[in-house]
Subunit: 333 residues, 4 copies
């Protein structure tokens, strides 16, 4: 049994980790922290978990983690960098769900406009692309929710250096904005709405540049995020302008080869968020037009876009079947 | 032209008053206040109103209202009592959209657990029941949203003293909870949900007791409110247990007579919130079963449940056609 | 391994059975039927299941079930009665998710207005009430979705013969209306809506009468169903008028005793459909007022209200742990 | 008073015309047709209109239109071409809300794959672009909902011939799919979803090509439509790649000049469908990034995207103030 701890158990990525870890056959959750709820039972905050955990929230003190093999950091960016080095130095493996280790230090500091006070080399935890490095990693930077859907949508074409320009137009469920009420998450503001935000300057953009750039350096990338009236899910349209023409069959072949052996990638002929809801799947469909190829990807932002992918990374880091604890059907409809 | 002011123009009832007053043929909006947004253009906060108002928000100082014939108080309960006496003494008519003047002083103080520091006699502003008193009133207490739908649903039966027991089970759009983000209004908490709250002790209950009690003193009344995933609307089921048996035709006749001459009451054979959305209508349908009569009423909580009814009251107070500025079709679907 | 078949695999209860059976450790799905999709791969219709089943839909011919120990009937009422006797006679256990075997023959024929052409004695499959009979049953009638939530809400009080009158006001997600598009399920008709239907005469009423009547013969029962803007979930308010007065602690004790040993009943202090979404839990909260006790129950209509409960019944019929394959956390939020 | 008739009054564009025409000060509705509901009162089908129309639906026989000055055709494409010539020949002005007259005959026949059996020259009824021609027109082809939002978003840049490539990614409320239930409009299929459809080949594309091509012949245009969980509204992101660089101020100036004198265009600094809901406004916001300009437009698909724009066209054709009957605030929130 892998013994794990969770730093930051009160938010959505924290509670989602707990939801998924409950039934993981090879994991025991030893400690979950929350400064705010220290001393409270986990299920008294996360009532949906009543019956599953008898633990109390602890303060994020490293001595509670003595026992642990791995720690998930489910805290806001800027916070994770305060914890990761200490845990790594104590011999734990670390999976950070924040943005702190996804970019190189210089880019991070520019994009997030803050000094990185605990920088270490990390592996970008997108298993479909970095599986071999993840196997050997001690520190995995779990990808952002938008980059997960966007990068997976076009990586196969980028790897063939086929892309001239790609425009990612993404629509996310509102849980991506976190558990704290704001004007952005206020129900009437999202009712019957599509709300674009950070239209040309969302920070997740830089993960797309970094990861797609590994395959093909000269792709022109654009990205616009939006929220839609729903709790979970990210639907990304990748409007992809190619350097040449491709038939549907050629596209299909490129994707099938690229994703061979990837249990959580499903190539579909139509795309619905309900086909992936609650699951770790990333469904991908492509539509070949006369002007461009549109690749649509669907993920659950809290699973493949966050906590599920973190567990997938853990599985790989510990030599387990990548699917352990994660291979169950989505909640449809 | 009636010259009106609005105290408290930044919330939903305030902006809804503005939406409705724009096209009122007999009204000129002279002043709108907001402490928080003092000095800002109204449309810069309420962007949906761009093109309609060039006013700036003022502080709620009575000197800005010199000009006015009437003031709408669209502030939280406990606040209105600070303004009403001053305006009344200055000769303005006052329509208070808060709870401060709906109940007698003693009941108010018990239910709202605070001293009433500016009590005056007021008329309960439900025109279908108090039209004649509203005509002569200087201070009208605009009813709560839930009581509006609940009282109108069964008043005709109460007036005939036919009711033994009535259970109001109401479902409201979330705008009733106001413009400020809270856990209650946080999108993921209302997504795919029905959330009961104050299940046996909502304060609006006392308006139902007071107003139905005018007709029939011994009705047993129960009330449970809930919010549903929507912005606007209140659907109330009045599960009504009668003292005798009534046929559908008899019920219909009782309602038709009672609401004769009430332009905003529509008796329908089915009930949908979309049939009243954005309008001042209260639709009523009744279903006669072997065990009870269920009367369902539908209103838009911000219109007939708040700002529209306030304007209807204003029309009556100033001798206008009750429908002035309010008689337009709902926004369906 | 229990070998099971599913008759009627194209609808929501059918696909939900498949979703849940995939990960059941003691079950093998041998055959799934659909006249309409005969010969098609299951995953080509239920795309969310891609990767999980390689079976094709069969016609509902008994010879395909040779191998099976149990069959789930997930067909419309009136259809199940055509299949059940044949399967029973062939030695299979049968769990019928339709209404055909829930009521005695006479009541069924009156309520459903059709002749029952294949009547057999069945056990009403609400495990929290009929666990011992289910153990020995060959034919289990899986309860309706509304009755499940309603009966579980007040059974403990009924068993103590404490109830004078109960009014069930229920709100269901729209999947209860099935997979075929109708005016009722047309998106704009449910958008920002609460739609009461069969307000005083829904057929599920008779299951409540039958089952609560086993405990206490003279309860006055009323029931009104509605749909709310969501896919899954049923929230039932049981407005319960007692014969005497009870303190909160007494109510709590009654419920705790009654549901002792019931792994899928959770007593909560607040109620949210998101606390049970996708799971087999029935959450119950009670609110003791001066006029009545309101008991609110929350279930997922497709799980505890249909397919999950069917599997719970199967577990009991085959001597497995009642929780097998079903004891995982809900999908929150 | 302009006397108008409506052919096709049972669908959403028909009922929306009625909603808007009710309060138009210069219009009298003389006849509304529906084959399916012939002889029924309009309000008995469109219950939200109870109290507003006492007319019955007629069959679409030209003799009922004797009296009329103008007819709105609110029938499916392929149907309008059967009516328009007859009405025109009888001396009525015609506004066709279908696709039948938006494209030249040859393009129409290719795109819609049917013979055009009643072709006439028409004016494309986008007033912000064709106001002068509309004034003189007898036959106006009311634009598609998607093209309205898309063309208005970038016309000012196209007129300056500044665009290299534009990608329209649009999200529509589901009323655009019409009043008849289908799998596409089935509630569970749209719940918590964004559903792309006709991803690279929606027919509205050709209106964008035609109209933007009038300004600048060589724009590369791409278009993908989607539906989102809502009843009304279209949010279009125009990802616009320019030939040179523009500062925000320059963009602003171009838009302000282009839309000077256009009462229904509002330039906003943020974009929300709730700012235009139920109204004839098209709100436009632009976001200038380093890679592109994103112009977002918001309309109500049934108003500015259909029936409201039709009335705006009528106003212009009859020399009325363009705003007559249409200049009221949106329904926020």
């Amino acid at each position: 049994m892998i013994k794990v701890g969770v730093v930051g158990g009160s938010g959505y990525t924290g509670s989602e980790l707990l939801r998924l870890l409950v039934n993981h056959p090879e994991v025991e959750v030893k400690v979950v922290t929350s400064r705010k709820y220290e001393g409270k039972k986990i299920w008294s905050l996360h009532k949906f978990l009543k019956g599953f955990f008898d633990l109390e929230f602890k303060s994020p003190d490293i001595r509670y983690f003595d026992d642990c093999d791995l720690v998930f950091l489910a805290v806001p960016h800027g916070e994770a960098m305060r914890y990761a080095p200490e845990f790594l130095d104590a011999g734990l493996k670390v999976i950070d769900l924040s943005a702190d280790y996804r970019l190189d230090k210089k880019t991070f500091e520019e994009v997030y406009e803050k000094e990185h006070i605990g920088y270490r080399e990390a592996v970008y935890g997108l298993p479909e692309i970095h599986r071999d490095e993840i196997k050997k990693a001690d520190l995995v930077a779990n990808p952002g929710c938008y980059p997960t859907g966007a990068i997976l949508a076009v990586a196969p074409l980028a790897e063939k250096e086929l892309i001239d320009r790609v425009v990612f137009d993404s629509k996310s469920g509102i849980t991506g904005a976190g558990v704290s009420p704001t004007d952005f998450t206020h129900y009437p503001n999202l009712h019957e709405a599509i709300v674009p935000y950070k239209v040309t300057n969302h920070r997740h953009y830089w993960e797309m540049v970094q990861e797609l750039g590994r395959f093909q350096g000269d792709i022109k990338i654009s990205f616009t995020p939006q929220v839609f009236p729903g709790s979970r899910g990210i639907l990304t349209n990748a409007h992809t302008f190619l350097r040449g023409e491709l038939e549907l069959e050629e596209v299909a072949e490129i994707y099938e080869r690229f994703y061979d052996g990837c249990p959580f990638i499903r190539l579909q002929d139509s795309i619905r968020l309900s086909y992936v809801r609650g699951s770790n799947f990333c469904d991908i469909a492509f539509f070949v037009g006369t002007d461009r190829v549109v690749v649509s990807s669907a993920i659950d932002n809290l699973v493949k876009g966050a906590s599920g992918q973190a567990i997938q990374n853990m599985n790989i880091m510990f030599g387990l079947d990548e699917r352990a604890g994660l291979y169950f059907p989505p909640l449809f409809p």
